[in-house]
């Protein structure tokens, strides 16, 4: 059986082990040691909701759920 060898200038296959140890989320180096973060900090705090768990059932999902529950069982 003939074996094929990859051409000499083809990129070598990625070692799957090496792939596992790559950290996709390596923090980029910052250019400065210090910066002014007053305004930025306040904005970051406004982005979260802790009161979303309300009693409102007027959304589409809830309406459909209601319809399903009101259907009589077949048996």
């Amino acid at each position: 059986m003939a074996t094929t060898t990859p051409p000499a200038d083809a990129p070598p296959a990625e070692d799957p082990k090496l792939d596992l140890f790559e950290d996709d989320d390596e923090f980029e180096e910052f250019e400065n040691e210090e910066w002014d973060d007053e305004e930025e900090g306040k904005d970051a705090l406004q982005q979260w909701e802790d009161d979303w768990d309300d009693d409102d059932v007027n959304d589409d999902f809830s309406q459909q759920l209601r319809k399903e529950l009101e259907k009589r069982s077949d048996n």
Partner: protein
């Protein structure tokens, strides 16, 4: 200090390149590991009383990058202990750049260890103090912070997810808001590879319980609107029906199991009668909110 920073940075990056080359030519890469050992020694020399100690956090962060890349994150422990317990360091003295980076990496470690309160504290520090011009870094912080917040019952605004291109979390958030178990499972399947790679898959999978809580709450509210006097009793049959609608096939025993877990973890207050196949909900606050606390373990 600048000279030290440059040397340390270049040591790491050159070692990384050397490892890549060694790998490609079939040799076992060991330069980055060696760089890590050397940087630990450098750290040791900075951990004294001299003015040089202000550089120790930078070296720490470079070490974090080395260990995360090598997958040897357990080695972070000793340097973290030195930073956090050695009397010679005053954390506030360190440059903002290093404090932000430090909290990002230690925050990620807390996520790996399911310490959501600590993870929230550290990743929020990183987020609040990170220079907003470094958009990629902000995105990375959020990538780990969002699953943490969700585990604490706090939802990010959709605009935030859109702004930082974290669309993989959109359906997860919607599923929690709605009580849509099918949507959560769908989202986990759709982005399985990404979630596995970043290590947050299990954190997100555990959210299913909170989604069940929300679904039960909706069933309860819908029943209450129809007949307030009977609302506190939810028949298992009704839950089975709702789940079937969500394309989740479960028999009554399996549903009872979920009810038992919800009650056990204080996500639902009440008891169920196995004989009558009914959940009797507490008249007061039958669905306690997490509101920033993790689910009881």
């Amino acid at each position: 200090m600048d000279a030290l920073y440059t040397v340390v940075y270049e040591l790491r990056t050159i070692a990384e390149m050397a490892d890549k080359e060694m790998s490609m030519s079939g040799r076992v890469p060991d330069r980055l590991k060696g760089a890590g050992s050397f940087l630990m020694k450098v750290f040791g020399t900075l951990a004294g009383k001299g003015s040089k100690r202000v550089g120790a956090l930078y070296v720490t962060c470079q070490l974090f990058k080395v260990y995360f890349k090598l997958g040897t994150v357990h080695l972070c422990r000793s340097v973290i202990r030195s930073i956090e317990t050695a009397r010679v360091f005053d954390f506030e003295e360190f440059p903002t750049r290093d404090k932000v980076t430090y909290n990002y990496y230690t925050g990620r470690l807390e996520v790996f260890n399911d310490n959501f309160l600590a993870a929230d504290q550290k990743l929020m520090y990183a987020l609040v103090h990170c220079a907003t011009s470094k958009v990629n870094n902000v995105r990375m912080i959020l990538k780990y912070l969002v699953p943490v917040k969700l585990s604490l019952g706090i939802l990010p605004k959709e605009a935030l997810l859109e702004k930082y291109n974290l669309r993989e979390y959109l359906d997860v958030v919607r599923a929690l808001r709605r009580g849509d178990v099918r949507l959560l499972r769908h989202a986990l399947e759709a982005y399985e590879d990404e979630f596995l790679r970043s290590g947050v898959y299990l954190v997100l999978e555990k959210l299913e319980l909170q989604v069940y809580q929300r679904l039960m709450k909706k069933i309860y509210i819908i029943q209450k609107q129809r007949d307030p006097s009977k609302a506190h009793q939810v028949k298992m049959d009704v839950v089975v029906k709702a789940l079937k609608w969500l394309e989740i096939d479960m028999d009554i025993d399996e549903v009872e199991c979920i009810m038992a877990i919800l009650i056990h973890k204080n996500l639902m207050k009440g008891y169920f009668s196995h004989k009558s196949k009914v959940v009797v909900l507490s008249k007061q606050e039958p669905f306690p909110r997490l509101g920033g606390r993790p689910v009881n373990s």
